[in-house]
Symmetry: C2
Subunit: 306 residues, 2 copies
């Protein structure tokens, strides 16, 4: 199967949804494993609109416990139950979410055929909170009015692929193939040395996506998000409202772009716009004056990295 690595925006707005802009939710698709990031009200409807199967989501990451980032959870989980899901669902979150959500699940979703597992994290630490064969996810402590983290999704370096011609010609053992995949050279039965680079194919470069919302400019995260392929950074306000951004622990589009520049990321996506602004092109314009390779996060926008 060919590799996929893409982000779909389900909601781009801040606290107050409008008739067209939903609260925060995104989906990261890593080769048809879907990671849901935040889950504002209406996420399940937006998932349907974007034709993303609920059954492919096994892990949900919640950045913080403001309603516009988690009010969609109970509806989504309830629907998953009605659809007959049987696979456990993991929610990576602040421990308070478990206290709030469990009584609701007990009341509304009594006989669900699957378990909801709360994988609670320490929001003050840069911890690895998820790992599988291909990926690691880390918390990124942020600066907001309540405990808040971003998430860094990092692909692992894949094994090198062994060239078919070589296998056909030299018939190496399984043990030898594993060694070659890890970069070892090969010695023929005659003792001849064959360099690893001559018999393997370089794997695709591992990709990284950093999600930073809601926060004042994520300066303390710069080391962690350095060089990522895509940074999502909130830009609730335009720079003309910089004071308000500071007061409410948010960022402006210019500040988001400055973080992108300083962290030397390849691409920036902005979002979490305040309802006060009607013309979102102003955000893109403002960010681009500092960091050219910026995308305006909007409902339905898909950024494909692979």
């Amino acid at each position: 199967m060919s590799k996929t690595f893409s982000i779909t925006i389900l909601g781009s707005n801040s606290a107050l949804p409008t008739s067209e802009r939903y609260p925060t939710a995104q989906v990261l698709n890593v080769s048809e494993r879907f990671f849901l990031i935040d889950c504002g009200e209406g996420t399940q409807i937006q998932l349907r609109r974007n034709r993303i199967k609920f059954s492919k989501i096994n892990h949900i990451f919640i950045s913080h416990l403001h309603g516009d980032h988690c009010f969609g959870l109970i509806g989504l989980i309830s629907t998953m139950g009605l659809l007959g899901r049987i696979v456990d669902l993991h929610i990576h979150c602040h421990p308070d979410l478990e206290k709030i959500l469990v009584p609701q699940l007990d009341y509304f979703c009594k006989d669900m055929p699957f378990k909801v597992i709360f994988d609670c994290f320490d929001w003050k630490k840069q911890d690895m909170i998820y790992e599988d064969k291909n990926m690691e996810v880390y918390t990124i402590p942020l600066v907001h009015r309540v405990p808040t983290v971003g998430f860094l999704f990092k692909e692992k370096v894949a094994e090198r692929k062994v060239r078919k011609e070589f296998v056909f010609k030299y018939q190496p053992s399984i043990k030898e193939i594993i060694a070659i995949k890890h970069g070892e050279p090969y010695y023929t039965k005659d003792g001849e040395l064959i360099l690893n680079e001559d018999i393997t194919i370089e794997p695709p470069k591992p990709l990284a996506y950093a999600f930073c919302t809601d926060t004042r400019p994520a300066k303390k995260a710069i080391d962690q998000i350095k060089d990522v392929d895509l940074l999502y950074h909130e830009s609730t306000f335009l720079k003309e409202d910089k004071k308000l951004a500071h007061k409410t622990y948010h960022s402006t589009a210019e500040q988001a772009a400055n973080i992108a520049k300083e962290a030397n990321v390849k691409q920036l996506m902005i979002g979490h716009y305040s309802t006060r602004y009607k013309d979102l092109s102003l955000f893109l314009e403002e960010a681009k004056t500092v960091f050219e390779n910026t995308v305006l996060g909007r409902e339905g926008v898909v950024v494909t990295l692979a």
Copy 2:
């Protein structure tokens, strides 16, 4: 101000929302006082789409505690708080809702400038649960898997209007005018009798709207909903799935229409369609074979009675 009496459908679907159909929510507009009936996920977005001001809603009526009828409450209330609402909000509901919602309000909406007041009702009784100058609202006990009521919204009989010419000519006292408004005749200073009907105008006929969801055919409600101007009756299924309707305590379009006929209502609106059906015109067709004056409830549909 001229009188208004209209129903706007915000959500027409049953349990599982689709990309176009929202879970149950409706707004009754009685001369610019808005009563919200049920509040599925996404109701606040649908209110915005239909340009209904949140500040005009002071009373919310919740039929029962299945998620598709109440998961939108926390988001709506939270937004009302962010918009600076100061007027109390009343929720008319089963007592369990208070137990579930209060911990969420305490966590997410700590410093709201208004109070949420839970006016809990006994779902087994046909009680008057709300009254103002112009209107009364009654519970309609229904038959569903959990405690469920419908709601009967009944305008009061308005006072008769006294003709201006009469007031100008005879200059009656305030006390006499009040008596005339209540239907009394008038005696001139010369002792001449003037019939009430000659000096007053008949007020507009009081209107009544009955909302019945979710339920098996609401037979036991027929006395209560007799002759209403508009009956909303759920029709989750088509008659081909009658057994499933019975098993899940729902109704078919044909059954809804039979109730409308038996209760001699003027107009029927159907809704709460199961996600399994794509072509909703089949519901309308089925209902119309029994009860011609039927409207298909869909998002954005407005039925105006005055």
